[in-house]
Amino acid sequence: MKRRAILAAALCLVFALSLAACNGGSAPGGTPAGGGDAGGGDAAWTNGGVVPDREYILVGWAAPMSGPQSIFMMPTQWVVDMMLDHINNNLGGIEINGRRIPLRVVFADNESNPTTAMAAAERLVTNDRVDILLGTWTPVGTNTASAVAERHQIPTFVFGAPEESWLDGGPYEWAVGMNFNYYNLVRDLVNIWTRVDTNGRVGLVLDTTVDGTVGRDTVTGILDELGGFEVVDPGAFDAATPDFTGIISRLRDEDVQIIYADMNTPNASRFWSQLAEFDFIPRVVTINRGLHYAADVGRLEPNAVGLTYSALWDRNYPFSSSLLGESAYGIAARWEDDHGEHYPYSLGYDVALFDILYDVLTRAGTLERNAVMEAFLTTNIDTVFGNVTVNENRNMRVPALGTQWIEGDRWPLQKSIVSADTFPFVDTNLPIVIPQTTQ
């Protein structure tokens, strides 16, 4: 009996001590891109703690590096390496407390899941003791990081979700966003519809996700305001829907000539081929969220030329990165040369991120939290999204313009901005191509 009691004691105490051992941040906190160890000092950091004394600025990025949303991260590593090289080597780092020290980024994979996203953000703040926290892509990334921001009072910058969904958890004291506004997004899509002569009957094919839900209320509101449109709504469908027979039959019977759909890529592909099967292709087919990536859209059957949706960035924006001084078009072309495929729209967000980070840290001149937050809130900078400032909701509103897939010169399909009313800086309302409609 004695021997067992001792073994039991050992088991329990080892267990307790190993938990306490986390105190020293023993596990190396992530592999920060651009080298450098994140062990850092040991000051208690929970709330209002002192900045750990280390020779570099550490930015923690909780992002979907695996799972369905990891597609947003396609250009990220390329942009991070380019920008860190530019900031740390060409510009010799950022001046903090009078000395120019390098900027480093440490990633934590949120696996496209809120449970892991919270653990990732918490780890970056408490274990890696980052100076600034980033949380990206859909509310899974933005809202969990913003919650950690409030909990640990750490300056946090989030982007890649509808402004309305992010603010559902707000208002935030310690989180600043760079998100598109869903009202503007839908406003531009409706603008496309007004420029095509149709019978004004709009069929809604919206799933039950955040975009579908927010989209339904927004579009019905706008269409009522405008008048001259009639909404046909067969009801929200579940993302796991195997078949659109019922919905398409309803739309066909109601002689709908405009479809406003919001669904993920597999459903978009299934919906588009079933429309063809029912040979019911209206004059305007808008499928939001599922048509972002040229490689995926290229695999739609039949050909996806003419489909419209809202693109969240486009290399044809007449702007350039303040940090690199290079135009949006140039950066996108360079990415395409390096990767041999159509550029992803998230490239714009990643470049804008570093423009903003560099500007904020330079203006703050210190890593003290309140100063950094103040710098974030007074941001006014030109980047690949044009001029970016912070609105009363602490969000830097970026455009989401009506776009159409058309025959491409360099790639089979190419994006063309057909409606930019909600964003004055882009005046190119290119002609709208009608898909091979059956009406």
Binding site: S66, G67, P68, Q69, S70, I71, M74, T208, P234, G235, A236, F237, D238, A240, T241, P242, D243, F244, T245, G246, I247, S249, R250, T265, P266, S269, R270, S273, A276, E277, F278, D279, Y293, A295, D296, R299, L300, E301, P302
Partner: protein
């Protein structure tokens, strides 16, 4: 009224595809009583293999499909021989975790190579409608799915019921010791059963790849459909799986017709539960592993 008929017909056609997804699992589930969580990921793995070989061998999908079947049989030998056979006698829970582990490993390796992009297998029959009236539209692709699925299931049923190989598998399922006493090496029989299951799942992989398209992680979505179909049909009953597929397909689409598109999938699952509680061993279930 037209939509009702259309939903019913589309439901049956969709049911054919569901049966093809479930049939491989029915074999493994019925023979070894293995709750194979990796079934969905393995199915999607076969879709990826077909896609790779289509690109590699200049677009002939039949050749790519043939090579995929051979490759999936090799995967079956490795998976069953070196992994599952060692764990299957240790009880249900370890086998459950091993197949969970395999499922996670497969979809993450796929994601490592193919990222989170969406893929689709081309289907020469797209756009052709066999029937295209006001009343009803039957796309050739859907009919193809039902046809192929019926052929595969009847063939598998024949192999299992009528051939010595099939009887040996059923013997191993009925009573392991008695089968060994017949000179049947049950471990090797499990490997054959898994290979047969993965070969038939490749059919599911082809049809899913053409109809819905796939990501590296869409396996789990199809796993729940496979389990539902197998459980309705009755564990280990191949014809039961076909019936289960049809019932699930029709239940979903009629559910959508009566209660709106949002609850299509929900009605499917509720139908599964009701049928399960009415007949716990499934409609045609007889071969329960001793």
């Amino acid at each position: 009224m037209e939509l009702f008929v259309q939903s019913l017909v589309s439901g049956i056609l969709l049911g054919g595809l569901y049966a093809a997804i479930g049939v491989g699992l029915s074999l493994v589930f019925g023979i070894m009583g293995l709750t194979n969580i990796a079934h969905g990921s393995l199915l999607i793995l076969s879709s990826f293999f077909i896609m790779i070989f289509v690109q590699a061998f200049g677009g002939s999908i039949i050749l790519a499909f043939a090579i995929t079947i051979v490759l999936m049989i090799a995967v079956g030998v490795l998976l069953q021989g070196f992994l599952i056979n060692r764990v299957i006698s240790k009880g249900a829970e370890p086998a459950l975790l091993v197949t969970f582990g395999v499922a996670i490993i497969i979809w993450n390796i796929l994601e490592f190579f193919f990222g989170a992009n969406f893929f689709r297998l081309s289907n020469p029959l797209t756009g052709i409608n066999v029937v295209s009236t006001r009343w009803m539209i039957i796309p050739a692709t859907a009919l193809f799915n039902l046809g192929i699925s019926t052929v595969v299931i009847l063939a598998l049923h024949f192999v299992i019921q009528k051939t010595l190989f099939g009887r040996a598998i059923r013997a191993a399922a009925g009573n392991v010791n008695a089968a060994e006493l017949m000179g049947i090496n049950t471990s090797r029989t499990y490997i054959y059963a898994m290979c047969l299951a993965l070969a038939t799942s490749s059919v599911g992989g082809l049809l899913v790849g053409q109809t819905f398209g796939f990501f590296s992680f869409s396996g789990m979505g199809y796993l729940i459909i496979a389990f539902g179909v197998v459980v309705i049909g009755g564990m280990g009953s191949i014809l039961g799986t076909f019936l289960g597929g049809i019932i699930l397909g029709v239940a979903q689409l009629l559910g959508g017709y009566f209660f709106g598109p949002g609850v299509q999938t929900l009605v499917g699952y509720l139908t599964l539960l009701v049928l399960l509680t009415l007949r716990p061993q499934g409609l045609l279930g007889n071969m329960t592993r001793k």
